[in-house]
């Protein structure tokens, strides 16, 4: 793998075409992902438009500070990832490995915070299907809020987990010197994926933590 010219696959004419195709393919995949999450965003929008009060009451059971901190952590990880891509492009191998490691670290921190929030909700009896004991304002629709919350953050968390796996593989390959300024498409593509994960959270955060807090019945 160290020999970069070998990285050209037989079906392509040149490296440029191959790189273009790979990035374009990744963007199409991300468009797919937008629609994948989109189905759930659609459910959220419909229910939120119907039961704003229940969503408001439920929203107050989420920890705003934790939400903000995890948003910041994901943004930091996105930044380290971007720096990683920059290091790859400039051929700074050690920096690349370092930035990938940092990204993984922040991703893990994000997951830890998220798990602790889930655990808290579980203990408070706000986890539908496992422990749901909420009896105050409009419990049915509050349950709906938490169903959507766990479905969407769960799907997002699974993407974070997969992302950690991908980044780990990339870090190992980078460590072994698989990439250089002429060939770092896999790093760039993994970066796109990771930024997308960040992107989803950028919307999940306001939808669940922010916009309904002051609607209370």
């Amino acid at each position: 793998m160290a020999n970069h010219s070998l990285a050209l696959r037989h079906q392509f004419d040149d490296v440029e075409q191959q790189k273009d195709a790979s990035t374009f393919g990744m963007w199409i995949f991300l468009a797919t992902e937008v629609l994948f999450f989109g189905g759930m965003f659609c459910c959220y929008t419909v229910y939120r438009s119907r039961y704003p009060m229940a969503f408001g009451n439920a929203s107050n059971h989420l920890d705003l500070i934790l939400g903000a901190v995890s948003t910041a952590i994901l943004i930091i990880s996105s930044f380290t990832m971007a720096c990683g891509v920059n290091s790859a492009a400039t051929g700074a191998k050690n920096a690349l490995v370092g930035f990938l490691g940092l990204t993984i670290l922040f991703a893990a921190a994000f997951l830890v915070i998220e798990m602790s929030e889930w655990h808290m909700l579980y203990k408070e009896g706000l986890m539908p299907g496992f422990n749901f004991t909420y009896k105050e304002f409009d419990p049915g629709h509050v349950q709906l809020f938490f169903c959507m919350y766990f479905a969407m953050t769960g799907l997002h968390a699974s993407h974070v987990t997969i992302g950690i796996g991908i980044l780990a593989v990339m870090a190992i390959r980078a460590w072994r010197g698989a990439f250089g300024p002429e060939y770092f498409t896999p790093i760039e593509i993994s970066g796109l994926y990771w930024h997308f994960v960040d992107l989803v959270w950028i919307f999940l955060f306001p939808l669940y933590y922010l916009i309904a807090r002051h609607l209370q019945g």
């Binding site: 629609l35 929008t45 419909v46 920059n86 919307f203 955060f205 922010l210 916009i211 002051h214």
Partner: protein, 99 residues
């Protein structure tokens, strides 16, 4: 397409803006502004998303085709939301009680 290498400095500016926006949106979220809360939160989210897509994800420097792909993804999501909400929100728009 010519390779465009974004410097760490450029990334840092974007990063700082993102953190700042997160701080603003959180602070505003704590205040009760009525309907404005939703607007502010979503506008800031869209700005943040644009920053990530344009600069972290290099769409600003990308080919038209990649830009088009992003637009298509968002457009189809908008389609899904628009036509679903056409049903959900339109009760009573026409004079058919309950329909």
């Amino acid at each position: 397409m010519a390779e465009h290498i974004v410097t760490k400095k450029q990334y840092s500016y974007v990063f700082a803006t993102l953190l700042l926006l997160t701080f603003i949106t959180t602070t505003v979220g704590m205040m009760d502004l009525g309907r404005l809360n939703v607007v502010v939160a979503l506008v800031i989210a869209v700005i943040k998303a644009l920053l990530v897509v344009l600069f972290f994800m290099h769409i600003y420097w990308s080919s038209k085709l990649n830009k088009l792909t992003v637009v298509a993804g968002v457009a189809w999501l908008a389609l899904l939301l628009w036509l679903t909400l056409t049903d959900v929100l339109s009760r009573g728009w026409l004079p058919f009680p309950g329909k």
